[in-house]
């Protein structure tokens, strides 16, 4: 039994069913990466796991109990979520936004403390936004903003952290930086991370557990080396490709097949 799992979930918005009989288990201490085409239900799954969307049937268990039966503040101290998109309030500074990650640790009686201060400081350092601390969030670039939101999620200091596309908007160097940071959190602090990523090669490189989704179902899950095959990519994304060894890490590297030129129909797309 892992700390976070969903069993037999039907996920729907109003009457529109996105997933049926969906079950996932997030291995403890893993860096789980979810991949899948647009609109296959990745964000919906994360929302269900983080009790933002109540499954019409089935349950999400967090630490052995239905996540919906637990006080929302208790959940917020255990399970963090970085949504795919959030709005920064007008006129808020970077430090103020990151500090909001401390909300679940505060109450009317227990307000701001030196500990909160330290955690906010650290979260900004590790995401490289400490220099921006007093800038307004709405004056930042998309990539800077993304790192600020990540810092806020880190400041929540939850043992489980769900990240919906944390690398969107980032340039390649910052993508790697954020993923390295995630790997570090996972390795050094033993946090369980779940991230939705669109870059399959990053997924293969960083994930310890990979979940491939297609139209509301889990197509396959397990070790990246076992999951990420040319057949799976073709099945899930409909993309002909080759999978070779990443020369840096030996993990799978997905190389999309070259575009067929007209009159070149004899080439086998699957190679």
């Amino acid at each position: 039994m892992t700390r976070l799992s969903g069993t037999g979930m039907t996920l729907a918005y109003d009457k529109r069913v996105i997933a049926e009989d969906l079950s996932v288990e997030i291995p403890d201490g893993s860096f789980t990466v979810i991949i899948g085409p647009n609109a296959c239900g990745k964000s919906t799954l994360l929302r269900a796991l983080s009790r933002l969307l109540k499954p019409t049937t089935g349950t999400v268990l967090l630490d052995g109990r239905d996540v919906h039966s637990q006080p929302t503040r208790t959940v917020a101290k255990t399970l963090g979520l970085l949504p795919q998109s959030s709005t920064a309030p007008d006129g808020i500074t970077v430090a103020e936004l990151v500090a909001r990650g401390r909300y679940p640790h505060q109450s009317i009686l227990r307000r701001w403390s030196a500990e909160d201060e330290r955690v906010v400081e650290e979260s900004m350092e590790s995401t490289g936004v400490a220099d921006l601390a007093d800038r307004n969030v709405d004056e930042l670039s998309g990539g800077q903003r993304q790192r600020v939101w990540l810092a806020m999620a880190l400041a929540q200091q939850t043992p489980l952290l769900l990240l919906d596309e944390p690398t969107t908007y980032l340039d390649i160097a910052h993508q790697i930086e954020v993923l390295d940071l995630c790997a570090e959190l996972h390795e050094r602090q033993g946090r369980t991370l779940v991230a939705v990523l669109h870059d399959l090669n990053h997924a293969a490189r960083y994930a310890t557990h990979l979940i491939a989704m297609r139209s509301g179902r889990v197509a396959r899950s397990g070790q990246p080396g076992d999951v990420l095959t040319a057949e799976l990519v073709e099945e899930v994304f409909g993309l002909p490709c080759r999978v070779i060894d990443d020369p840096e890490t030996g993990t799978p590297l997905v190389v999309p097949a070259a575009r067929r030129r007209t009159g070149d129909l004899s080439t086998n797309a699957r190679i």
Binding site: T72, T74, A76, L82, S85, P89, R100, Y103, Q106
Partner: protein, 340 residues
Amino acid sequence: MTLVEVRRNPVGIRPRAVVVGVTAVVATVVVSVFSLGTGDFPIAPADVVATLFGAGNPAHEFIINELRLPRLIVAILVGAALAAGGAVFQSLVRNPLGSPDMLGVTNGASTAALVVVILGGSDLQLSVAAIAGGMAATLLIQLIAGRALHGFRFILVGVGMAAILTGISGYLLTRGQQMENARALLWLTGSLDGRSWTQAVPLLVVLGAVLPFLVLACGPGLRILEMGDDAASALGVPVSLLRNGALLAAALLVSFGAAAAGPVAFVALIAPHLAKRLTRAPGPNLLPSIAVGALLLSGADFIAQHALDDRALPVGVVTGLVGGAYLVWLLTTERRAGRI
């Protein structure tokens, strides 16, 4: 470093917001002293202060404590109530124009009050009807807009509700006799004439309960809620509980405010707006809004009572003129700055 620490504190308040709030409170006190001292029987500021502290002569005591003070207190409290209600509404629907006067809450109070006027009811009945009408309109909007209470849907339903209620009010006015219509029109404009401790005491009680609830219990959550429902839930904000609680509390404030002084124009819209502009802080800015609202209405009533030599204006005329002018000024500057 201390400054940065304060600014970094999400439950703390920015120094600038403190300055704005304190300035508004001090200004309200100054306005109050002048307001209490001005009238057919002028009283010097020093005597006003002495009388307030219980050291005045009997004549001053009667004029201030029995005649002028209750009206001033009603002005301050209604201003505070409308501003707090407006700030919560604007924050909940995430729209700076989403004030209770635009969304049908105030119209609910007006329509119910009109019915009482047409039926020739007493002032007490009128107040009770206004409160019931405002609350009923809020609940109805919430019911129609659905559980999700999405900002946009709430606005559409609210604007529709306001239009329907305005139509009904118009119809009621065509049915009224001349006497009743004069009373109705005065009430609809918003007036503090003849307000006494009868209006001030219930307001004090309601504000004493609701304002601390809003500021302490809802304030921190409302600030987080501005980041979106998902982000707020993820941080442990009980989103629907908070929304419903804050909405009902805000509607209660607005309804009681309208019951005591009529649907005074623009205060609920302008006060939170002005407070936000001055503090430049994110969040509903509840405390600065409350202070600005109190200043606006007590100041407007001072002007209303003494601007014209021969007779007093209803306070709603002044807030309407001032509020409208502020909006026009805002729209032109924002336009020049390319923000709209």
